[in-house]
């Protein structure tokens, strides 16, 4: 029996070992967000956008309504230097309305009295395997922006710093105003 115990102990330990697996919670990666920075057109330093509202036209939803953490800003607040934008994975294009000085019209709350500029982002979607718990995330390549330019636009210029979006650490797109 003396010999049996250590063997049984080892046996139990091995069986126990199998239950000591890392929890299957994804912490290793995520589909990145597009990082947009706001700059002064004159001296190209960071410049906040007053009462910024961003509406995604694809699902007609307003960003930053629930929390400021999600996209780095709150709806209709003065923007920080940079914000995050989600890109559609199931399409190669995502459209946003950038609204400066956003406010509701006194008579009709569905009308925004702010200055509305529409921006379209075009890109390619690639998949990347991250880990067991995360599976695949999307990366975006060949980023490009298009917009119709009017003299009333508050956006004066756009510069793409990085056409490949694999993380949300640095600014990809500069907006000058």
């Amino acid at each position: 029996m003396k010999r049996l115990f250590p063997v049984l102990l080892l046996f139990t330990m091995i069986v126990q070992f199998s239950s000591c697996e890392k929890d299957d919670i994804c912490v290793e990666g995520d589909t990145p967000l597009l990082v947009v920075g706001f700059y002064d057109i004159v001296d190209t330093t960071f410049k906040s956008v007053n009462n910024l509202r961003i509406r995604a036209l694809d699902n007609d939803s307003i960003l930053g309504l629930e929390s400021a953490e999600e996209f780095g800003f709150s709806d209709r607040a003065n923007s920080p230097d940079s914000i995050f934008l989600p890109l559609r994975i199931d399409a190669m294009t995502t459209q946003f309305e950038f609204i400066l000085d956003s406010a509701d019209d006194d008579q009709d709350a569905t009308i925004d009295t702010g200055n509305i500029d529409t921006l379209t982002f075009d890109y390619l979607v690639n998949e990347q395997f991250v880990s067991r718990a995360c599976g695949f995330v999307a990366n975006f390549n060949d980023l490009d922006t298009t917009r119709q330019v009017f003299s009333t636009d508050w956006i004066k210029g756009i510069n793409i710093l990085d056409t490949t979006i694999t993380n949300s650490n640095l600014i990809h797109v500069q907006i000058f105003h």
């Binding site: 010999r3 046996f11 091995i14 995520d30 589909t31 994975i89 199931d90 998949e127 599976g135 695949f136």
Partner: protein, 254 residues
């Protein structure tokens, strides 16, 4: 009277000495131990195949008695398993691992049997090698903020994609026991702890489940497995072992 006693004492002493000699003779009796090949099958894998739609597997086991306590041991198996990974309740991707493996090594019997019993409590090691393929059946893009698809992750592909020519090798520590239930018929159980040595992966997908090794954990190289075997011992030849020592502790008496 005393003379009578003394002569009786001598007679008894003589008898005792004789008896002692007989005992000693009995202890040097030669014992035969059978050597041979034991072949069997793992019962857990066919059972799981029957119970689980997403798994099929078979493992053949065999060991050959080398010495009193050492056995050469090997396992040969084939497994296929489909698994789905989720984030919470939302499906992420489904993949199938399919392939064969061989494990070769030795077992050492630590159990001291009474003469005539042939049971084993063994520890041992294996070198194992597996060749396999992984098929990604479908996948969705993980995205922590699902602004455009609040209900589910965006589908990436439903076309299955095969990653073939994968291989892995690992060292395995084995602990287990075998009991003879009928003559030459054994049931056994063993637990295994594997440590990956090589892991040949595709660049675009990781080896998540290796046949014979089981789940590959993130950041660690340990795999855990087990089997329940039913095997038959084919006695091929017998070896005679002389017992010289008086105390009768037959190691591994078989």
């Amino acid at each position: 009277m005393s003379r009578y006693f003394i002569s009786l004492f001598f007679i008894l002493t003589a008898l005792m000495v004789r008896a002692q000699e007989e005992v000693a003779k009995k202890d040097t009796i030669t014992r035969k131990y059978s050597y041979g090949l034991r072949v069997g099958v793992d019962l857990s894998r066919p059972t799981l195949s029957f119970l689980n739609d997403n798994y099929t597997g078979l493992e053949l086991v065999g060991d050959f008695r080398l010495t009193e306590r050492w056995w050469l041991a090997a396992e040969l198996g084939n497994e296929e398993r489909q698994q789905e990974e989720t984030a919470g309740a939302l499906p992420l991707y489904t993949y199938t691992s399919s392939g064969s493996y061989i494990k070769v090594g030795a077992d050492y019997n630590t159990y001291t049997n009474w003469f005539g019993m042939r049971n084993q409590i063994h520890i041992g090691g294996r070198y194992a090698f597996s060749t396999f393929s992984q098929t990604l059946e479908n996948f969705r893009f993980f995205e922590s903020n699902r602004f455009f698809s609040p209900d589910e992750f965006v589908l990436g592909s439903e076309t299955s994609q095969e990653f073939s020519g994968l291989n892995a090798s690992w060292l395995e520590f084995v602990v287990g026991m075998k009991a003879e239930i009928f003559k030459n018929m054994y049931v056994g159980i063993s637990a295994r702890l594997g440590h990956l040595i090589t892991n040949g992966e595709d660049d675009n997908f990781r080896n998540l489940w290796i046949p014979g090794f089981n789940k590959v954990t993130e950041g660690a190289k340990w795999g855990v497995g087990y089997n329940y075997t039913l095997s038959y011992f084919l006695p091929l030849y017998k070896k005679v072992k002389k017992k010289k020592e008086v105390q009768d502790r037959a190691p591994n008496g078989q």
